[in-house]
């Protein structure tokens, strides 16, 4: 008898659960906004893992304007996986480029080397120089390694990164860097060196191939004071 008394609420619970789950699905169908569709339609269920990882931002560890809030995954010239947040607590000069670029990018790299030399030697370890490729198809870590060798860009001060097209575009959007692939296999792009403070906030950008040395030295002095 006691057993029967327990079976009844259990059954109610199970029925309730089934109803609850069922009604959830009905609601979603009802409120789904779909028109009568004539063409080939496809509604693919998104990958559930992807859904929740997609915007997994490390809460609280970065300021509101830090580019380190980006979820981008990068690979350096030695093939090591890395995140931009690893440059935290250092001053960073960052530019986007591609190794096959014959005209503007070598100028940008050279400009960054000139700027590096203006930093007092005892402060240089507070800085990192980062080149991010916009050409992930051709710029493999091995290609980046060769590039670093050719231009005498020594690690750990210099890091060359490659990543997914998606992450590259996101970083470009954060920096305000514009690029577009052209049919000759190269890219049309703006020329931008971004100065980031130890929190990953952009404090100055040199726009164009001519370095505004006045603003650059002011920026460097400011960065040297902060660190």
């Amino acid at each position: 008898m006691k057993k029967y008394l327990l079976i009844i609420p259990t059954a109610v619970l199970i029925i309730g659960a089934v109803y609850f789950l069922g009604s959830g699905n009905n609601n979603s169908e009802k409120s789904q906004l779909v028109g009568k569709n004539t063409g080939a339609a496809e509604v693919t269920k998104p990958d559930e893992d992807d859904c929740c990882k997609a915007v997994n931002i490390s809460e609280g560890s970065y300021t509101d304007m830090s580019i380190y809030l980006s979820n981008g995954k990068w690979t350096d010239q030695d093939g090591h996986k890395t995140e931009l947040g690893n440059f935290k607590n250092r001053n960073v000069l960052l530019a986007m480029f591609f190794a096959n670029c014959q005209s503007a990018c070598p100028v940008i790299v050279n400009d960054m080397k000139i700027i590096e030399k203006t930093i007092p030697e005892n402060k240089r370890d507070n800085y990192r120089f980062v080149l991010v490729s916009i050409d992930p198809e051709r710029d493999t870590p091995a290609v980046l390694k060769d590039y670093a060798k050719d231009y005498n860009l020594k690690s750990p001060n210099w890091t060359l990164l490659t990543g997914s097209k998606n992450d590259i575009m996101e970083l470009a959007m954060m920096l305000g860097f514009k690029y577009s692939k052209n049919n000759s296999g190269g890219f049309t792009h703006t020329n931008l060196i971004s100065f980031l403070n130890d929190k990953g906030e952009i404090i100055f950008q040199n726009d164009g191939l001519v370095v505004d040395m006045g603003s650059v030295s002011k920026t460097i002095s400011k960065l040297n004071e902060l660190l």
Partner: protein, 258 residues
């Protein structure tokens, strides 16, 4: 023994309902708009980049038949709380983010749930697309869909159409946006490419890198000087930042055709 059994059922049910909340299959269902296949084709960019031929080949792809609505965007926010108005990071969305909504989880009665969500940044649009397992369309893809007429793939050279388009581009923002799919669909079965909102694309600011200031209205290097609506579109895009949030700017999602 039996009490234990009931307890287990309670715990199982409780855990299960928590899991539902976390996975949000219902939210995802609402957020997932029906798509149509767009066949591959050629699109002529208004501006020729260095070394680019006049026409650009676009692979076939899928695109949402309508823009993401307020109701759909709310589902995304419920499942991804870092994208609420109060929590969103400034680098991803400026102060105007969802400014027409009443509060974090309530669009309010001034916003039509079936109207396109606007005041959303490129970063928010991209995150939404990823959440539903899609992506933002490229500008070439978007333009390929937009050049279709009612009964043909286009380009739509109808003067009346272009006139109306210019009028719309220059018009002020209505007090409340209409619901999606109120207008006729185009050749592909896609609604509201014009007349309702402007839309984010993945590479929205890459149209004119060479430095021709169309932000101010210049025209050097343009391939079709009669295409004034395209000027307005490109000009608008090149003035935007990815964290901009505007009342007439929303988005729809796309996907590779495999």
């Amino acid at each position: 023994m039996s009490t234990k059994f009931i307890l287990i059922i309670f715990i199982t049910l409780g855990t299960y309902s928590l899991q539902i909340e976390a996975q949000n299959p219902k939210n995802l269902n609402i957020a997932n708009t029906k798509m149509v296949l767009i066949e591959s084709g050629y699109y002529t960019p208004l501006f020729r980049q260095n070394g680019n031929s006049e026409k650009e080949f676009v692979q076939s792809f899928y695109i949402d038949i309508h823009a993401v609505t307020n109701e759909q965007f709310l589902q995304f926010i419920k499942a991804n709380t870092e994208w609420t108005r109060s929590k969103v990071k400034k680098i991803f969305a400026d102060d105007s983010y969802l400014k027409d909504w009443k509060s974090d989880y309530n669009p309010g009665e001034n916003v039509n749930p079936s109207a396109p969500v606007t005041y959303v940044s490129w970063f928010a649009a991209k995150a939404y697309s990823k959440w539903v397992g899609k992506r933002l369309p490229t500008m070439a893809e978007w333009e390929l869909v937009a050049m279709a007429g009612k009964n043909n793939r286009g380009p739509n050279k109808d003067e009346k159409f272009n006139e109306n388009l210019i009028r719309w581009y220059l018009a002020e923002l209505p007090k409340q946006l209409d619901k999606v799919m109120s207008d006729e669909k185009n050749y592909w079965g896609v609604y509201d490419m014009f007349g309702l909102i402007r839309e984010w694309t993945f590479d929205f600011n890459t149209a004119n890198i060479n430095g021709t200031a169309i932000c101010g209205g210049g025209s050097a290097g343009a391939t079709d000087l009669t295409n004034y609506p395209a000027f307005l579109r490109y000009g608008f895009n090149s003035c935007l930042s990815a964290n901009s949030d505007l009342g007439n700017l929303g988005f729809r999602c796309a996907k590779d055709a495999k």
